[in-house]
Structures are given as structure tokens and as C-alpha cells.
Symmetry: C2
Subunit: 350 residues, 2 copies
Amino acid sequence: NQTFELDSNPHTRLNILTGEWVLVSPHRTKRPWQGKVEDVTPDNRPEYDPKCYLCPGNGRADGDSNPDYTESFVFNNDFAALLEDTPAGDMNENDLLVANNQRGLCRVISFSPKHNLTLPEMSVEAITAVINVWQNEFNSLAENDWIKYIQIFENKGEIMGCSNPHPHGQIWSQGDIPLEIAKETERQKTYYAIHRRSLLADYLKLELKKNERVVFENDHFVVLVPFWAVWPYEIMIISKRHVNSIKLFSEAEKKSLAEAIKVLTTKYDNLFETSFPYSAGMHQTPVNNGYYPEWHWHMHFYPPLLRSATVKKFMVGYEMLANPQRDITPEFAANRLKEMSTIHYKISKT
Amino acid sequence: NQTFELDSNPHTRLNILTGEWVLVSPHRTKRPWQGKVEDVTPDNRPEYDPKCYLCPGNGRADGDSNPDYTESFVFNNDFAALLEDTPAGDMNENDLLVANNQRGLCRVISFSPKHNLTLPEMSVEAITAVINVWQNEFNSLAENDWIKYIQIFENKGEIMGCSNPHPHGQIWSQGDIPLEIAKETERQKTYYAIHRRSLLADYLKLELKKNERVVFENDHFVVLVPFWAVWPYEIMIISKRHVNSIKLFSEAEKKSLAEAIKVLTTKYDNLFETSFPYSAGMHQTPVNNGYYPEWHWHMHFYPPLLRSATVKKFMVGYEMLANPQRDITPEFAANRLKEMSTIHYKISKT
Ligand SMILES: O=P(O)(O)O[C@H]1O[C@H](CO)[C@@H](O)[C@H](O)[C@H]1O
Ligand SMILES: O=P(O)(O)O[C@H]1O[C@H](CO)[C@@H](O)[C@H](O)[C@H]1O
């Protein structure tokens, strides 16, 4: 005859964007950790590294040299997972062995000429310049009518498979709609068909009213830990205006988004006083495939750290075979991030 | 005017068990790696470690001491993610914030009294003893009528979040059907409704005929790299007989499964001459929830290593935000594993 409490009893929460559930085990943080301790990558890089293929003036794998760029710089990925000239073709044996060719274009974006900067250490103006590149790339990639989806993302930190510490992001665009986008399209479409309103707009309204998971808010964006967060300090940035892609952002919105990213990544770094690793990326409407009025632009941040700069959450056995699982509650994570200063620890320490 | 080839062109493949696609980029193995290099955990553990909570006779977190066991040993997880006495309850605000309580029982199984053994180094008889424990636990957990699914799994290696190197596995059982099982149920059910045959039985027949992805076969089991494998050296063990759970395995089948596991894990260790990390687990019918004749027992192995003992595949940015992606083809992986000896490298080196 106890009563059920979200902050102390094991439970599942619904991800309204995918229709999938996450298992939450709030009581499990007491578990001792004798497992893997991650290395902390030393954070004393020079401003310029002659061996880095992203630094201005240096050579790249395809034989080209980078220009002496001063803001951001974009080029085609020299080791792209998707290629434009993939021949057409497919295979189907009894619906048991099924494959399709896949065309695509992959780009790399250096965020800054400086080898040792990361987003939280850049100015709002410099981050706005990166957002301008994202917007331009989105628009120009969408001019290829065979491209159906454009995934803009960043892997930050060695622990997130980032193969070069120079601050950079990637864009993978392709001829089919990838899995996560297909799921989010379906759920948003269903909600929109019933309510004639954006699913995320209604969700945002409720979150702002409750104010239990909101970490930061400015004129155009809300930074929050979603109710169904899987990763310990997972975040969504949601635009207040219901727009279906980055294409539609005004100058004011781009500046607001830059501020939101700077505030969030600074709080992240301050949490464990480390350059906080994550994979982050935008979700938005497919392109060249009809009109998706239900789509509501947002950005996901999936950071792996759980307890400290060296102890991460492992999504392994049970999580891979059965269901995503988390230990701390989303509300606990939101509170911790809310408490964090918006001044970067490296600055406040000098 | 090239023709499309699965072994050289980027393409997608359908996972017939989940309905999801994987992006395959066969040409991408040429990519240089300047990213994270994993530590190799030293493999010189003693047979008995006085500080290990799994070794015979030692104390555990709940105050109990382990018996002086000689084969396998099972106990309730002292830091369980799911608890039996979770009070009933749920929450739903406008279908936007949705949560349910979740009851469960979590067990830990030590595979051997010896702290320094792993499955490939154990005898077929000793592995059969572990399979007997799995079968008994499955049967006895299923006696709780509120339990709907029983997930048997192993996390092996620090890199897979294993918090104690003593060879052990886990069982998480719970009151709802987890995500991966719900997906596999749906696809198997649909196929069975149309064909009146098991999806995996038909798939197995085709794979045995083609013989491009089969790594090992004995009287009762086939070890293969599935056509839609996501992880570089991902494996499925499929039972030749269409049974829906481990409950139905005969003595002969349990011995055959032990042999299949020994052969596979030995080949895994030989591949990069390291104790090969993975998460592995069985998928089988839900329990206490009606009859699932379509379900076909199988076991998945998800190992992260890609190029060597120290370079793994990262499922990060694009993979988390958009779609699973792999570099080497499943056929390449199957060939490599087929070539590997069934004598463990530690033995053939002495
Ligand atoms: O239960 P353990 O071994 O402490 O923990 C390990 O396996 C669990 C089940 O896959 C995961 O939730 C944990 O993240 C992982 O570290
Ligand atoms: O493209 P990179 O930075 O070399 O590689 C990184 O990001 C890719 C896209 O998320 C992943 O497929 C790789 O596993 C990861 O190491």
C-alpha cells in the first residue's frame, strides 16, 4: 500500500515522437561502479595543428588543400558512407533477403579555423555563422531532387566516435527516409490529422506550464530534458514557432538558436568540468517528397556520461536486446542542468 | 552503366525480424582511423579473487555470502533495475506525458566458480550446465503469472559495460513486453499468418542453401551472420527445430547449443586474439500472455569490435539520429569467422 511515484519506482515512459517506451529505474543510482572508467582526453590542443586535416591551409585525403578560412568551412567527406554515383539496383529473394541501392552525399563542416575551440567556447556570432552554413547546406542539398532526407549532426568527443578533435559536424543526405525520421513522421502525422496542431507545440506548452524539465528558454527556443529521455542528460531543443525545417528560420531565430546551443553546451561542460561528449543533430521534414505540415523542427542531444567525466551509461545487453533503460530520472537531470552556470568553467576558473 | 553490387555499392538491407533497414557502406573500410583506441583489459586474472562478489564463499552487497558452488550459481541482483514490489500506478496527461509502473525480477548467473574462465574456455559439459540453469530459471520465472517476458543475456568485456570480469550473465524479467520483442513478435506473427510456417525456418532454409553467411552448423543449430547484421561481426544462432522457447529444448539440443556457443566464442576470440567483447542474449516467446506459435527461438550476439582488439564500431551521430550503419559486409564477416580455428588461440599458442 505504497503509492506509485515517478521519482522512486521503476516505470516505463512513452516517447511520443517514436511510440517507443523507455524503462526508468530511479532507485538504481545507488549501484556501485566497478566497471570501465573512461580516459579523459587531454584538453590542451594548440590553436593550429599541422597534422589536422581540418585546420586552414592543411592537405586532405583527396589531395586538396583547405583554404585559409576564417569562419566555418564545408567540403565533401573524403570517406563518405554514401556516394552520389551509386548505380540503381535491388534484390529480393522470397521477401527474406531484401536490399536496395542507396545514393547519398556526405559533407563535413569545420565549425571554426581554431583547432582547440568547441561550440561552448565560441561566441554567439560564431555559432550563428555555423547555423548559417547548416541552413545554406540544407537548402542547396535539397535542390537535388533525388535527395529525400538531410541529416545534420555532430559527434563530439572520442567516446562518441569522433575521429578528429577539431570542432566539426557532418551532413549525410540520402535517397530514402531513415528509420528515426520515418518513426517521428508517423507519430507527428497522426497527431496532426486528429488535432490540426503540431504534436511538439502542444507538448511544449505543457512542459512550459509544468516547468519540471525545462533547462533554458529564450524568445524562440526551449531547451528541455524530454519526459522520455533515454540518455542520462539527453536534451531536446524545440523551436517555439511551428516550422518544419531550418530553411524557414529568420535571422532572429538563428541568433536565438546559437544562444540556446551556447548555453546548453556550456552547462554540459560545467556539469562534470570536462569537455562534455555527445552526439547531436536536427530532425526536420523530409524533402522532395510532398509536403509535411506536421513536422516540427527540433534538435536532439544524446550525451553518454552518467556519473562523472569518466563513468558513462552503457546501452548494452538488456538495452540492445530488449528495451532502452535509464537510471536517474529526467527531472533530476533537468534540475542538475538548470543549476549549472552559463559561464564556462574554464573562464570562471581563470 | 556500372551494375549494382552488394559487395561494393552502398545499399540498405531489410531486417525481416524487425522491419527496420540497415545502411551498408562496403567501400568505407578504407577510411583511416585517428579516433579512439580502446584499452585491452589484461587477461591474467587469478582463478579466485577475494574481492570479487561472484567468487565462491565471498560476501555480497546484500550481506549474504556465496556458497562454495562448483558449477553455476544464481542469485537475485543486489542492484536490480526492476523490483517485484513496485506499487501499481500510471500517469497520462493529454497523451503527452504517459507512464506506467513496471514490476520485474532480475537475476545474476555466475557461469563458473573460476574467476578467470570465459565461455570459450569452458568445456561443452560446463556450458551445458549453464544452459540448464537458463532453462530452469526460464521455467521457474514463468510460474509468476504477472511476468510477461524473460530476457536472458550476457554482457562480456568492460567495453560492453560489464562491471565484473568474473564470467556471468543476467536475467531481467518483467510485467510488460519490451520493445525488441514486440517488433519481432509482430513480424513473425504476420509471416506465420500468411505462410503457416515460421519466418526463421524459411530464412534458415534459404541461408543453408546459399551458404554465404553460415559460420557453423551442427545437428540442432546454425550459427550465421544475418543478412541484415548491424554490428560488424554480429551473429544469430537459430534452432533448426521450430520451438518457441528454451523450455522445449531436449538434452541433445542443449548439448548442441553448448557446442555452438563454444565454437562461436572461440572463433570470436581467435579473430583479433583477444577476449572478444559482446552483448548476447536469447529472444523467445512472451509468457503468461496467450500462445505464440509463430515464435522461433534464437540468440543474438552483438560484438562492437571492427578492425582489431582496440578499434570498435561507434553507433553514434548518424546511427542514433537517423539509421543503423555498417562498414564491412555481412558476407565478409561470415567468411572471416568461418576461416577461424575452433581451437582457442591461448591453447594453440602453448
Ligand atoms: O547490471 P550491470 O552489469 O551492473 O550493468 C550493465 O548491464 C545493464 C543491463 O544491460 C546495463 O543497464 C548497464 O548500463 C550495464 O553497465
Ligand atoms: O565519420 P566519422 O567521424 O569518421 O565517424 C563517426 O561518425 C559516423 C557517423 O555517425 C559513424 O558511422 C562512425 O562510426 C563514427 O566513428
